[in-house]
């Protein structure tokens, strides 16, 4: 083993750069195949994932905020204000909200960035019950949802807001809505991506037409149908098309 530098049996193979290039190529190309592969294997690794659950984002949730801190909830001072194009503006305390007819549903939450949380158990109220005493005016054709996280707002048309599983949720998976999920109240519209599901809801205004919400002003689609917007083409059944177009759905008289 003398003078290896000059007399080596063969020059070293450049495997290092090979490992580097293969890893980079595999990673970058996974942008194209990663999600569909994950969709196929995720249930087979979910037993492992549930073992690791305490260390992982709870149930696959990611928390997004657009401002400095998470809005805090004070049960005594919190109000949900219903205003805009209504006969009677309404201000509901948390206890008044909880006294309204309760609705429960299990629905799947899709984020536009690609993650999904299956079968979330929501408890809350239907919009029609919230609007029962406000009496929307006939020129109201859309709803503006106002978050305590200023300047986050988003809109639904009346038709969209009347889909059967649209709700205002104050409970998630059997517990009061956690702060990071929008305590005490958030909008749920399972047919649309998460950014339409406004968190830390503090007001709903009836307006003449839907405008651009926070993310729509940054280029995201106003009608954020899951699988049919923001560049996605549907891999699943198309969402129900809303038909109602008047305020009448909210009138319970």
């Amino acid at each position: 083993m003398t003078d290896e530098m000059n007399d080596a049996p063969e020059s070293p193979k450049r495997y290092g750069r090979g490992i580097f290039l293969v890893t980079v190529a595999g990673g970058v190309s996974s942008l194209a195949w990663g999600r569909s592969l994950w969709g196929r294997v995720s249930h087979s690794v979910s037993p492992i994932a549930s073992e690791l659950a305490p260390f992982l984002p709870k149930g696959g949730w990611r928390i997004y905020t657009v401002t400095g801190s998470l809005p805090t909830f004070d049960r005594v001072t919190w109000r949900l204000k219903i205003g805009g194009l209504v006969e009677t503006p309404v201000s509901l305390s948390y206890d008044e909200l909880r006294a309204l007819p309760r609705a429960n549903q299990i629905s799947t939450f899709h984020c536009v960035t690609g993650w999904t949380v299956q079968n979330v158990r929501w408890g809350g109220v239907r919009l029609s019950d919230v609007f029962a005493h406000a009496n929307p005016l006939s020129q109201a054709h859309a709803l503006q949802f106002v978050s305590a996280e200023v300047p986050y707002v988003d809109y639904l048309t009346l038709g969209q807001s009347q889909l059967r599983d649209v709700m205002l949720a104050y409970e998630m998976d059997g517990k009061p809505l956690p702060q990071e999920h929008g305590a005490p109240l958030r909008l749920i519209i399972p047919e649309m991506y998460g950014y339409k599901n406004v968190k830390w809801l503090k007001g709903i205004n009836l307006v003449g037409a839907a405008g651009d919400g926070y993310w729509e002003q940054l280029g995201y689609d106003r009608d954020a149908w899951v699988g049919r917007s923001n560049g996605y083409t549907s891999e699943q059944a198309p969402p129900p098309t809303p038909t109602a177009s008047s305020y009448k759905g909210f009138v319970t008289r």
Partner: protein
């Protein structure tokens, strides 16, 4: 008296620790953004996001700066050393077939190449996440998955690296090399005999 031999130059050590610092800043701020429990604990989310973003953007330039200001030739020689796998390295990688190793063993070489690739993948997926918030053309369904996946792989490599560098009795002497620059002749003879034989 123990005799020591220089294993890492100041440039190499600076390169390693700048990389480690960037990684730990990114890991800490990233987890604060990623884990719900931490995201409540650390309420200053935009600050975390800014630190995460700018550390990520500055990661490769900081490493390049170390190279430019330091001993570039030495770093290049080290890179070439890490790139090349000879017959001994290939034999070493098949577990249970011990083979005398040079200045870096084959595991360290694989680790170095993987880490270099992971930096690139972190940067690509991170930039896509950032751009995707601003322009939907840069939004892909798998970007989050890639960024997370790379994080888990990097974390696994880190755990192995830390175990060998700090805990495992046979190998932890190497920590001296990356902090003080020198390792004992006797340890080097046992773990990296062909480096000693070569006399560089």
């Amino acid at each position: 008296m123990t005799r020591y031999r220089r294993r890492f130059s100041r440039t190499e050590r600076a390169f390693h620790w700048v990389n480690a610092l960037a990684f730990f800043i990114l890991l800490g701020t990233g987890l604060a953004l990623y884990l719900p429990s931490l995201s409540i604990l650390v309420a200053r989310r935009p600050l975390m996001k800014d630190i995460h973003f700018w550390t990520g953007v500055g990661w490769i330039p900081a490493l390049l700066l170390v190279a430019v200001l330091g001993d570039r030739g030495g770093l290049l020689r080290t890179a070439r050393d890490l790139d090349g796998f000879d017959a001994y390295d290939v034999r070493w990688l098949r577990l249970g077939r011990p083979a005398p190793q040079g200045r870096f063993n084959a595991g360290q070489k694989v680790n170095a190449s993987l880490n270099a690739a992971l930096i690139v993948l972190f940067l690509v997926s991170g930039l896509l996440l950032w751009l995707g918030e601003r322009d939907t053309r840069f939004r892909f369904a798998s970007t989050v998955l890639l960024h997370d996946g790379v994080m888990y792989v990097a974390l696994a490599l880190l755990v192995g690296h830390m175990y060998l560098a700090v805990i495992h009795p046979a190998t932890r002497h190497a920590l001296r090399g990356i902090t003080l620059g020198t390792v004992s002749e006797e340890w080097a003879q046992r773990h990296h005999p062909r480096w000693i034989d070569r006399g560089d």
